[in-house]
């Protein structure tokens, strides 16, 4: 489903975020992407949803090369993915409900479907009692769950999550991971960037390790 061939990403002043990355992630896999801060985890995720393009090499998603993807097709690529951002990227002027519904509106669902999917996602993430609150009125953990709900609401083929449990207490983090497992069990490919080694150990799934933009060799890749 996802293939990276000799992918290198450089930024200005010679900063190398990723260097010669080769990897494959199959449909339905559950993968942890790990490494210290600055290892290149977020950059790799951003390459996958075409927020960045590699300086060299090829990124393929669903047999489609992202480098040659026309600008008009990028939204449709992103609609196949749900992304949980490290900084949540919630809209402060919209309520909890509206923040989630927004994602369904963008893909052109009917108002009835929008409401049904939004309620479903809020229920799943335990946010039903927060419908009319604004992001600033809910806790950090709840904001994180909002971000997850928004990523899931369109039932994506691929779920990308950047430190999705970073602001959650251990119990809630485990609960969220359980949720990701359920989603994965329904066929969604899940890729989670985290440096929470304890969580990775507990989950016992495939791990891709990065160190200073390079893949750390090992049998788990």
């Amino acid at each position: 489903m996802i293939r990276l061939f000799h992918v290198t990403k450089k930024y200005g002043r010679g900063i190398i975020a990723l260097s010669d990355i080769n990897l494959a992630i199959e449909k339905g896999e559950f993968v942890f992407l790990t490494g210290a801060s600055g290892a290149g985890k977020t950059t790799l995720l951003r390459l996958l949803f075409r927020d960045e393009i590699p300086t060299s090499g090829q990124v393929m998603v669903n047999q489609q090369s992202l480098a040659t993807l026309p600008a008009g097709r990028i939204p449709y690529l992103r609609r196949q993915m749900g992304v949980v951002f490290q900084d949540f990227k919630l809209l402060p002027r919209k309520t909890v409900f509206e923040n989630i519904q927004y994602a369904t509106q963008v893909v052109g669902l009917s108002p009835r479907e929008q409401r049904a999917r939004t309620f479903e996602a809020l229920e799943m993430l335990g946010l039903s009692h927060r419908l009319h609150n604004y992001p600033e009125q809910v806790s950090g953990g709840e904001q994180q769950r909002m971000a997850i709900a928004r990523a899931l609401v369109n039932r994506p083929l691929i779920l990308l999550a950047d430190e999705p449990t970073g602001n959650l207490d251990p119990d809630l983090a485990l609960e969220i991971m359980g949720l990701f497992k359920d989603i994965n069990a329904h066929g969604t490919t899940v890729i989670i960037a985290t440096h929470d080694r304890e969580m990775i150990r507990r989950m016992g799934r495939r791990v891709i390790s990065l160190d200073h933009g390079r893949l750390v060799p090992g049998p788990v890749h």
Binding site: L77, R79, F85, K89, Y102, L109, N154
Partner: protein, 300 residues
């Protein structure tokens, strides 16, 4: 269903966008309104002058002055000939008394002059209205040559030049109005583009989220375009309103009654279709300004 949902989104977001920054929205609308108001003023002037010139052009193009000693038989023969002339659309006989009366009406300040001179100095004449096809100089020359030697005719006069010159003046007024209007429209365009740019910058975070969750460029741009078109339409309506008000005030002013030129230059308001086009051009200006701004802001 998806399209309807997008339309609903555009309408709601455009409405929210307009209310969120009412000051900026009003600035954009007023700047468009001012430019269209100036275009409209020149439009009214050019429209009235054009109508005046056209009316003049339709009226007398040739005068055939009769000798004072022309006998009624000669006048009747001439009238018959003129009626059957294919170049002549209409004829009007102006007697010497009619001519004197017309003088008194046109120049009220010196209305007694003809009487002071004794016998009326104005000759009787036929005023000819010509068909459109016979208004060119060669046709006029032929007509003059034909009737100049006719019995009872003193002189034949025509001057197409002044009608053409007046027509050129109207064209100049119109072009001047357009040029100034375009200049102001450009300024309005820059204002609208800046307002849209500011709005885009203020909503940068939201736009980024929209892009990341898979919104198409149309979905993102739609509300901005709609809001700008509405601002432009409001500007256009403001311009029309201000023009109507200006015209009414002018019509009821002493200046207007005392100055016949004003009744020629601003006697009528723009036809409804032109007024609607002016208001709609505001919406187009708003749209173009927003499109320019969104291209630069790269919200695709």
């Amino acid at each position: 269903m998806a399209r309807l949902s997008i339309v609903r989104h555009c309408v709601r977001e455009a409405r929210d966008g307009l209310w969120r920054n009412p000051g900026l929205s009003l600035l954009a609308a007023v700047s468009i309104g001012v430019s269209l108001y100036v275009v409209g003023l020149f439009g009214v002037l050019a429209f009235n002058l054009h109508r005046f010139v056209e009316a003049l052009g339709r009226e007398t193009q040739v005068q055939i002055y009769l000798r004072d000693d022309a006998v009624p038989g000669q006048v009747e023969t001439l009238r018959r000939e003129l009626r059957t002339d294919p170049a002549v659309a209409a004829i009007r006989f102006v007697s010497r008394d009619d001519a004197a009366e017309r003088f008194r009406r046109t120049f009220p300040a010196i209305r007694d002059l003809p009487g002071d001179l004794g016998d009326t100095p104005f000759p009787a004449s036929f005023e000819l209205e010509l068909h459109e096809s016979a208004r060119d100089v060669p046709s006029l020359e032929r007509l003059a040559a034909t009737y100049r030697g006719a019995p009872g005719v003193e002189d034949v006069r025509y001057d197409p030049g002044w009608v053409q010159r007046l027509g050129a003046l109207v064209a100049l007024v119109r072009r001047g109005g357009y040029a100034l209007g375009m200049l102001l429209a450009f300024a309005a365009l820059v204002t609208v583009a800046t307002v849209v740019r500011l709005t885009v910058l203020a909503r940068g975070e939201e736009i980024e989220v929209m892009k990341l969750v898979g919104a198409t460029a149309g979905f993102i741009r739609g509300p901005f375009l709609l809001a700008a078109a509405v601002q432009g339409l409001i500007g256009g309506l403001l311009a029309i309103g201000a023009l109507v008000l200006t015209h009414r005030l002018l019509e009821n002013s002493d200046l207007y009654r005392a100055n016949p030129f004003l009744s020629i230059a601003a006697g009528s308001f723009l036809p409804p279709l032109a007024g609607a086009a002016l208001a709609l051009s505001g919406a187009v200006l708003g749209l173009v300004g927003a499109l320019l701004s969104l291209r630069r802001a790269a919200v695709n």
